[in-house]
Symmetry: D2
Subunit: 335 residues, 4 copies
């Protein structure tokens, strides 16, 4: 039985995390924190938790959290997250960080994309990126895991194997992603006001989305070469799910079957990646920790299509997968 | 006053066409046909027309249609459409064809993509493609106008000016389109059954969609060079609207402002193309005959984003725009 | 040509009003006001108006408005609306008020339901309720018209004829209404944040909704007896449309056909009420100024079902219908 | 470990059932049948099951099913279901029937509402109605459980306690229900074609819905008096969830708090009924086996609002709850 605290428990990733952990036989949630909300029952903020989790939101210091919990999931925004994690890591507490604070290796890159100095620059480059399919070995013993962004997971899982195998060129990769609205969080904005975004598709943050350097970095590692993707996120009128279409150039003539076989081989033992022949829809994986992937070769380009639930495989499910690895539970427990 | 008949009036494009024509001061709808449905009032098939159009669906021969109407809008499926139009054109009747039958110049290309011999191959190559922004002059006197497909309109309007100016390379253009479900028509299919496609995004017909050769052909004309786009349509859970994101390589270093200015100049006089600086959403143009376009330059690639209503600028609105040109009415009447 | 100003032009009813007025051949929009937004182009706030209305939002005093416009549509919130209208009515300006300020006859009732003293209590009881189907004669010459609420229109149109005819009892009428989200306005709220209200139905303000006394008052007039409805509004995940189901007890045994015929007779000459035999869906009337009505008799109860577009027949379409009557234009112009 | 077969596995309730059973530690799914589909892998029909259930659909006789499985869940349509169940009950197999075949006690009532003679009339009146909150004791040993309809569950749970306590009158109860589209099943129909039902609310089958006599019967038992509800189902554009609003007359003056306390007391020990003070939305219970209930007293009427997931508490979750009771597992296992 592992005692768990959740920092920043008022948002959607925290809600999803709680729902998953309530199914986990070896976990006890001992604290849920919020900086703003007084101490209301968490079920008042998340009515779906009524009768399921009998805790109040508390504004706890890192020391207070560490005194109660063995493992902390931080659902705080970037910046705020690192400021707490620094102190937690001084104790024995292990941390899974949902924010972007520890995903990038280079403090300069962080400063450029996040418009702020990093609070803990010396640790960057030493924190494992929590994508078990690529970095499982390093996750097992990690004191801190940087849980991947939702878009990066959808882009990296289909592309990394092809780059590792040298099957596609690292230059000029296009990542056109279509996301449900929960990815934009629970903070009120006009763009996610129902009558504004319902029955509408839009592109946003073209070329400026903060997940860009994260995709570049991990794909660059896979390719052993610099990668700079053209990343275009789109907002789609649905609650959950990301479909990511990528376009890249093969390094040599390649058949569709060869691309698919490369993906199948790479993920043959993975419990949560399904390489499929058909074109998946996001609904096939929504509510699960699966990422569905397929590939096509069209007029000499390699296309991949991936689908995942942005709140599960793209956030809270991945976090529990990491947690299971860190604490020696079966990787699929509760997922 | 022009007398109009609508062939194949049970679908969504016909419904939208009727709604637009009911606002047109110089039009009288004299016949609505259907091959299958007996002779029910059209308002029984389209309840929104109750009290607005007091006609019954009839199964009329081309001769019967020509005896009543001066202008025919054919909303029949490909194949069936040409078979009727051949006979209509033997009379004085002028035709706007919503099907793909007369859009392609080459009967071989038609046969390849539509899996059938063309019924009227000799006319191919002589029929004007009904995109007023590119071919207005030829539309005015045309006996037959091939109304463009919805996806092609969304791809051609942003790309054609850039190809004409030699600003982007004709090779390797990617067209990633996101469409609402009405584009799939009114025929029942599992993929458009509500619980299947609601709350889900999916790619379909990758590399095989029949609008591909149409985009190739018109962009090829604009570029004065062969064009073979990589075209990826996606189904998005909303009724209407297409957002099209394109990716191409500039022929030389180019600024975002230069690309935008090229588009602004090209469409300066156009009543239905709005070149905007912000990133448009489909909701901005749904219910209208506008196509909204913008452009970005990201990491050396030229991106365009366009939005339109697939049933209006992508079908019935464009058809009425063509009709207005053909009959000397103000181009924007009823639109 | 009538010169028009719109007060409070940043919301959804104002946007819809502008779109309708842009189709009106005898209208010129001369001012659009907003108290908060600086003086941005209205198309910056409503991107769908790009290229269609070239005005900036201004913060104008009633005197400034009156100097420019002959007719004012006030889309301001209750309270704020009356405060401006008092001054406008001192000039020759005529006003259509979208707010609830002049709908109720009794300042006490207003104070009870709206938690504030009325700014113009002496005028209450003398302002016509802008439902042409019931009060057309009084609208024609009115200096001020109180445009009805969306829910009241959906409840009153089916019930008033049956009460007038003494066919149903005035006591114990149940009004169960289902509304799209645009009815909640453009102000950001957690309840209308996309991931909260999408894929969910909820009841709200049961027994406390401010449209209740308005329904009571108008139905009471129709019945010539006190009416106190049980009114239950529900929020449904769609942009627009209200479906209202009512339940009442007949005063004597009555057949379904008799109820339907009473409705048909009452609305025989009305251009915007369609009494239908089938069960209408909101989609049949969305985008139009129609209200569709039908009735059933089930186990001795009279049920009515009505559908309308809350932003058109429930707000801006009704307002233009009133305007047309006030200024002697054909009642259906632009609708 | 209990061996389970699922009859009629191509629909939405079967899919949901499979997903729940895959989480059940004491269950093995040994057969999934379909009458029509050849023998494709079940994951071909339900792509979300890819990699999760490695069975093919088979067309098995009752004897073949009984040879493999100890417990059978029948997701067949009414009529077809009883025809199989008759034979299964001749073996030791126990059955949970999702269809309406064994819910009604009276073959005449069945014949009237379902337009067919019952295939097994002698068994009617002896089969337990599978609502554990009312009939738990009889479910434990039952060879056959008639799993309740989704609408009846949403109507009965809030009303039965009030009728049992004599707090509301059994006459004139109104049940106004709003359901997501998955309740209409997976068979293609124009009414559930996406562009028809999206962005629209409609009433259907007013006074004729087949769940009416089922509600009457169970509430009649609770009231110990005849009950004839006025039942109005509505279709709402969302995948899942039913919100049911009921209206009834109290037998004597009663406070809201008294009504709520009666509900709280009745369900105090129930694991899946949450009596809440706030007005619940369907989203709070979607994806769970909970039914959320609240009550209001408005202008002398008692209103209740209940929410549940039509595919879980309204179908497959209830079925597993019944199964757990029948086989001695903890009632909440897998739920």
């Amino acid at each position: 039985m592992t005692k768990i605290a959740i920092l920043g428990a008022t948002g959607y990733t925290a809600l999803e995390l709680i729902k998953i952990l309530l199914r986990h036989p070896d976990v006890e949630i001992v604290a849920v924190t919020s900086r703003q909300e007084g101490q209301p029952p968490v079920a008042m903020i998340h009515p779906s938790l009524t009768g399921r989790l009998d805790l109040c939101l508390e504004d706890l210091s890192p020391a207070e959290v560490a005194a109660r919990a063995e493992c902390v999931f931080s659902c705080l925004p970037h910046g705020a997250s690192a400021q707490r994690i620094i102190h937690l890591l001084d104790t024995d507490t292990r941390v899974v960080d949902f924010s972007a604070d520890y995903r990038l290796d280079d403090p300069e890159v962080f400063a450029t994309w996040y418009n702020q100095k990093h609070a803990d620059p010396d640790r960057l480059g030493k924190v494992v990126y929590g994508l078990p399919e690529l970095f499982r070995d390093r996750i097992v013993d990690a004191p801190l895991v940087a849980n991947p962004g939702c878009y990066p997971t959808g882009a990296i899982l289909p592309l990394a194997p092809l780059l590792k195998e040298g099957m596609i060129q690292p230059q000029g990769i296009i990542v056109d992603a279509k996301s449900g609205v929960s990815g934009a969080g629970r903070t009120l904005k006009l763009t996610t006001h129902y009558p504004e975004c319902n029955e509408s598709v839009s592109a946003y943050a073209l070329g400026r989305h903060r997940h860009t350097p994260e995709i570049d970095q991990i794909l660059g590692t896979a390719a052993a070469a610099p990668v700079e993707v053209i990343f275009s996120p789109h907002l789609v009128p649905m609650d959950r799910g990301i479909l990511t279409t990528t376009y890249s150039q093969p390094t040599a003539d390649v058949s569709e079957e060869k691309v698919l076989q490369t993906l199948r081989d790479f993920y043959a033992e993975e419990p949560f990646v399904r390489v499929v022949d058909h074109l998946p829809g996001t609904k096939d994986s929504v509510g699960t920790n699966f990422c569905d992937i397929t590939a096509r070769v069209i007029r000499g380009r390699v296309l991949t299509v991936s689908c995942l639930d942005n709140l599960i495989k793209g956030a809270s499910g991945a976090a529990v997968q990491n947690f299971n690895l860190m604490y020696g539970y079966s990787e699929t427990t509760a997922l």
